[in-house]
């Protein structure tokens, strides 16, 4: 079917930007979903380790995009126990 799409693009080149934008959008959405499934601290895949959230580091960034806060530079304000 990719060949069919290539044939269509040759006949109607104005379809190329359409496939590019739709393809980028679909790929981006899938990749973000994969990122959420694998890296989100709320998601747990391992049956033998039911509390992975206890291993989160205080200086790690888990958000996709952080505008103002630089997580690697946060100071520690509370005492060790």
């Amino acid at each position: 079917s990719l060949r069919h799409v290539g044939g269509l693009c040759r006949k109607h080149p104005s379809l190329i930007p359409l496939f590019v934008f739709i393809g980028t959008g679909a790929t981006g959405a899938t990749l973000y979903l994969l990122r959420l499934a694998l890296l989100n601290p709320d998601v747990c895949w391992d049956r033998n380790n039911p509390e992975p959230w206890n291993k989160l580091g205080p200086n790690d960034q888990y958000k996709f995009y952080s505008v103002n806060v630089d997580y690697s530079k946060l100071k520690k304000e509370r005492p060790d126990f």
């Binding site: 104005s14 379809l15 359409l18 934008f21 103002n68």
Partner: protein, 166 residues
């Protein structure tokens, strides 16, 4: 209306694909940035814990000492004239205005939701999980809300009242 001159307009079709896509992307990227900005914590002045139970709230002010109290709805027989039925409580959450307040919200038993619509707040109280919401009120007054996650027989009878004082 035969189609001799209105077929095969490749240039126009390309333009009307690319131009709206560019416009939409230029709207979406700053909008996503704002979305992530609203999630940031702007150095709250203090922190209050709000714990949902069946069917009342517990508030803990533990920053400067240990103030912990329960907040039950006032039954209709106990209301004073001028009070709002099903909305008044015995102990209100008293907060200052113009100070960023961090609310840590959780639950002791089942799902609840801590809501004050006029302050734009709604955060679910999930047992075993600590949710956080930060807000800064600008006007003094009394703000009402109701539990927003079905939690049993008296789900409609566990309101939230915030008294914001200057």
């Amino acid at each position: 209306l035969t189609n001799t001159s209105i077929t095969d307009a490749q240039e126009m079709e390309t333009i009307w694909t690319i131009l709206p896509a560019i416009i939409l992307i230029s709207i979406a990227l700053p909008s996503l940035r704002i979305l992530y900005l609203t999630d940031e914590i702007n150095d709250p002045s203090f922190t209050i814990k709000s714990i949902g139970h069946q069917w009342y709230w517990t508030y803990e002010y533990t920053d400067y000492g240990g103030l912990i109290f329960n907040s039950y709805m006032l039954p209709p027989l106990f209301l004073n004239p001028g009070d709002l039925r099903l909305l008044e409580v015995d102990n209100r959450v008293v907060l200052p205005i113009e100070a960023p307040v961090r609310m840590m919200i959780t639950s002791q038993d089942v799902l609840h939701s801590w809501t004050i619509p006029t302050l734009g707040l709604k955060t679910d109280a999930v047992p075993g999980r600590l949710n956080q919401t930060v807000f800064t009120a600008t006007r003094p007054g009394v703000y009402y809300g109701q539990c927003s996650e079905i939690c049993g027989a008296n789900h409609s009878f566990m309101p939230i009242v915030a008294e914001l004082i200057p």
